[in-house]
Symmetry: C2
Subunit: 391 residues, 2 copies
């Protein structure tokens, strides 16, 4: 047998694994250290009460033969797709049930979507970028080009200067926290339609938008012929430990007369067996009035943390992006300090864990990411610790 040779082109390990290792080593060497983790984008608030109640009920459904649900894909249940359709409708976006594909996570889907595309496609990603877009395409052997995002373009991805078949866009962005407005998205949709390219639009953080920006690429005219959208309950409703997401593939999206929707449907029917019934009931509950209010309260809590970080860093004279429509705060180190240099300084001297911007790509060099996903108390303390060292 042979192994997939493209794996040799991957960087040796995954960014967050590297960070985890550094933190573990620090804690082993300093057992009493009080480390505050504002690095990886994991949530900390409990699940919305509405989801808890719905999942208890769903667990009970699985305890009785009359209400038991087997393979979700064969059970003919579509309550979650219907709830998603109703949610999109609130933004004026009309979707059909078979345009929504439930999954266990946007990470899985943004990686697995590559299965349906040729390996000869050129893939464009923002730089800095969520590493999954790059690594999954390296594994498939695709050529990758970078769209440099930086202080000059305010971390808004520029249209490609060379040919690109597939473009990953993430807005609000991970890691920079910036969000695109309707005009910026329209420029991308027009470009994709003009070039026969496809936009892979990662909207995992749409719930954090506060400034009236589009929540979905499908709010933009023309997107149905050129875009696939990924969404998740992970950051919206705190489902990182529950696993539920969905991908929207419009039927108008075609390539050489072949339906991309049908191809993704075939991929999922062959390599995936549906989302846990219990999970689906928990996710459905986030769309009820109570669920929505509870989700909004959690989002507000995280945004408040992000605001604390943003204001704190700005008061220290840092140039800061994000933290307004996003849980992520992105800032430039000062005095030419490198990303990992700042990581080590914050870990070793004030026991605050962030994410080195350079881990997200060459354009992230000299930048750093902190997240609003901690508790309010610990976030405030982290900011004070940073102030004490860098103020």
């Amino acid at each position: 047998m042979t192994l997939n040779p493209n794996f040799q082109a991957l960087k040796a390990s995954y960014l967050f694994a590297d960070i985890g290792k550094k933190v573990r080593e620090y804690q082993a060497a300093n057992p009493g250290a009080d480390v505050i983790r504002l690095g990886i984008g994991d949530v900390t608030r409990p699940l919305p009460r509405a989801s808890i109640e719905a999942m208890h009920k769903a667990v009970d459904d699985m305890a009785r033969a009359e209400t038991f649900v087997g393979y979700p894909t064969d059970a003919g249940i579509h309550f979650l797709e219907d709830a998603v359709i109703a949610d999109y409708a609130l933004r004026g976006v009309a979707l059909a049930q078979d345009e929504i594909f439930l999954s266990d996570g946007a990470k899985s889907d943004t990686g697995n979507i590559g299965d349906i595309f040729g390996t000869d496609n050129v893939v464009a990603v923002c730089d800095p970028v969520y590493p999954v877009y790059v690594d999954t395409n390296v594994m498939a052997g695709r050529k990758i080009i970078l769209l440099p995002c930086n202080a000059e373009n305010d971390f808004a991805p520029p249209l490609p200067g060379e040919h690109a078949d597939i473009v990953y866009l993430c807005s609000p962005n991970n890691p920079t926290g910036t969000a695109m407005d309707a005009a910026q998205l329209k420029a991308w949709v027009d470009w994709a339609n003009a070039h026969g390219s496809v936009l892979l639009y990662d909207g995992a953080y749409e719930a954090f938008i506060t400034e009236g920006l589009p929540r979905s690429i499908f709010e933009i005219p023309g997107a149905r012929t050129c875009a696939i959208e990924f969404r998740s309950f992970s950051k919206t409703a705190g489902f990182t430990g529950v696993r539920c997401a969905y991908t929207v593939v419009p039927k108008e999206l075609q390539c050489g007369g072949v339906s991309v929707n049908a191809l993704w449907g075939r991929r999922q029917a062959t390599k995936f067996n549906g989302v846990s019934y219990i999970t689906q009931r928990g996710a459905e509950a986030t769309f009820t009035p109570e669920g929505r209010a509870q989700v909004r309260a959690n989002i507000a809590y995280y945004l408040n943390n992000a605001g604390t970080i943003r204001a704190g860093l700005q008061s220290l004279g840092f140039r800061v992006w994000g933290g307004v429509n996003s849980p992520y705060v992105w800032f430039a180190a000062k005095h030419g300090m490198g990303s990992w240099e700042l990581f080590d300084l914050l870990l070793n001297e004030v026991q605050v864990v962030g994410t080195p911007g350079s881990g997200f790509g060459p354009a992230g060099k000299g930048y750093f990411r902190l997240t609003g996903f901690g508790t309010a108390e610990r976030t405030a303390e982290a900011v004070e610790r940073i102030r004490g060292r860098l103020g």
Copy 2:
């Protein structure tokens, strides 16, 4: 952009989708018909009580910040891997924690595993075969050869007569219900080690073994250098609607000095984000004394159904395989009747849904599969209906 051209080589639709369509059409035309479904291999018994209780507790854990669990892969939780290790140890198989990869299903894993292998590998599958092995490798563009299983070899897969790099083995087998003994497995392990090939061993039905056969390929000396094993809670514990499985990749499995374990770990870290904490707690509970007893009772129930089908068909003069170490009963149609011909006859005349053997590959022509996953009452009735028509 271009699409993956290999998708054009796929058959137009998935076997079980075709069957579902036929049944829906029949029911639409005959609204009062009392259809008994013994086709698709979905379970019908409620979850074990131990799992229900564990999942309620886990849901409550997610309701409090102190016990909340985010990304399962980052949470440092390994209770389910530890329970799996202890379970393997009961069979004399020693595994390390990082040789066990949890997932949302064996279907996902048996498909996704292809990501780490070169597309130039020749893949051997049994004929008849679970369609996922074939379709996922067609999608990747690999050459596939068939290992004909038939009445002459008692549906035991013969060693390949030509070169094969990757071999899928499923025992107890889906669809034929036959199970390999230690000598047969040893022949495969020796062959794989001699040829530098890898065995992808699907043990999803191991809990149904009643005749003292090996439960794991790793009970066979030499398997750690040539085999990957897939297991699932779907058929064991009724988790088809809950989604939990695991794949074992031993560290001794290497290719050109590269660790296959490390490659799969990298694939999963990049394209997967772990199994729901609630699901993991439910799965863990199946290994407690109460959970084991409840699982055994469910398995015994399904095996009893399979025995009813097997005995009924044998009394009608059919040649029958399976149904002893498996929920699946496989039998040859009589009088030269084709698989789909028998499917239509049973659906239209006695309202029993089975699975046409020809849907599993050319060697399945003239065969038919029924499953023990129904209720005892309905299974007995289905057998009586068949007796009334074919007796």
